[in-house]
Amino acid sequence: MIELRQLCRDFLVGDQTVHALDHLDLNIDKGEYLSVMGPSGSGKSTLLNMLGLLDKPSAGEYLLNGTATSGLKEEQRASLRGGHIGFVFQSYHLIPRLNARENIELPLVLAGVAPKLRQPRVDELLARLDLVDRAEHIPNQLSGGQRQRVAIGRAIVMEPDLLLADEPTGNLDSKSGLEVVTLLEELNAGGITLLVVTHDENMGARARRRLHMIDGAISRDWQTDSAESKSILTAKPPTGKPLTQKTDGKAPGEF
């Protein structure tokens, strides 16, 4: 599904070049669950931005479902971001004047989906995210955990194939953090490809595949026995009905 070939991303700071991503190779299959760890400044966020088509490589190629993304026009990249990729940020990035319902609805609105079709989809998510009685609250009136659940709702409302979470639990206490991670894992169980950047070793260890980054390169890439790591944490295994079920069978890169 995702193939990065010798991907580089350089930043010019003053007269110095920072290699945020340094000849990085990576393959990700559909439905995988990866955690990305590494010291601050090692390029984790840059990698996620790259995968999410928010950033463009300085060199190398990013193939999405076999299509070279370097050939895409800005409008096509925007429409891929909207329809096939979901972002979850550490700082939620909710729009302060919109309530929970409207924040979740936003990608549907931007995509021009008819109000009649939007409402049942948002209602369903509000129920699934346990936000029904918070639907009319603006972000200021919500707790951190609730805000991140709204942000996740917004990330998956378009039923994306790829969910990119950059330190989603960084601003949360351990209980809400665990709730959020469990939610993401449920989504992954439903078929969505999940990448989580984290500083928390316990969170990182829950993923089936782990990446460790240093200086813009992947220093370690290994599979874990997820059953074992989860039993250590005594977290409940993913249950419940999957949130994301693609019905149209469309994949990124198809348009």
Partner: protein
Amino acid sequence: MRFRDSTRMILGAVLSNRGKSLLTALGIGVGIAAVTLLTSLGEGLQHYLLGQFSQFGTRIIAINPGKDITQGLGGIISSTKPLSLGDAESLRLLPGIERVVPVVQGAGAVEYGNRERKGDILGVGSDMPSAWQFRVAMGRFLPDDQSGRSRSYAVLGHTMKTELFGASNPLGQNIRIGGLRFRVIGVIEEKGQMLGFDMDDIVYIPTDKALQLFNREGLMEIDVTFGPSHSSTRIAERVTQRLLERHGEEDFTLTSQDEMLATMNKVLQILTIGVAALGGISLLVGAIGIATIMTITVGERTAEIGLLRSIGSSRRQVLILFLGEAVLMSVLGGLLGLLILTVVLSAIKLAVPGLPFALNPIYLIAAIVVSGLIGLVAGVVPARKAAQLDPVDALRTE
């Protein structure tokens, strides 16, 4: 994105910061009110003045003695022949000419019994009422006596009649003007004021009698009117030709009413535009206000712009959303301006009831359209800045 959704989002953003939006809109509002007010005042003045000047009709040419352009050094010591009653008579025979009014003006005391009134004394011909579009309210106007042998008849203006005779009938009564005796044969209807000049405080007498009375050699003016099928230029040519034959040189000046009105119209139009432009400065200030606030807004909402891009907004959508905010604020300003205008106009009408105002309903629509355009122009730079933001950089700002 659907139109209704864009509108709702733009409206939500503008209403989320009411104080700021209102102040920004107020800047445009004051500008719109100022421009509309000043323009309608200018136009009102224009209509008023043109109405005043065209009440004598437009197919009229005035001939005055003397030439207002001096030709070389010799022009200064040119010998000006006076315009005579003979000149006036000769014009009467020209083709196209309908009426000829020789005019002499003076001032003096008019007496009746032991009453006295100082007023204007106008020597005119029998054609005056039809040429100047005056109506006789009582009796008749001066008869068409043979030039130089006019009878001593007088016709009174409305004020003059009231002052001398009150409610009693003046017809057939004798009055004295400058020691000469005249018999009142008519009264002109009330004309009111023209540019502050009371046109009713007048007594009309035959021109030859007025020349005698004021001991003048020549006329002060000859007015000629012409038929609707003739152009003022053609008539002016004929008049000039005839007077040149009689005088030997061009020692007179022609002023045609339609030319004068056209010139005056042009001057007043320029004046109106100038005054409106003055109001336009406040509109410019309002536009700068919108541009400033929008720039600040884009700065404040950079993270939001990054987020919008990450969930599928194209640059174009971002541009439209921010441009929409600028236009909406500006149009709100336009509506606010019309509100201000209504209040100010009502206040002015209470304070100065006579002020001529021409508030064209087109202005109201124009005010909204113009304010929308101002918002578009003022918003384009900040909105483009928003659209050009790099989404990663935008998301990093907090």
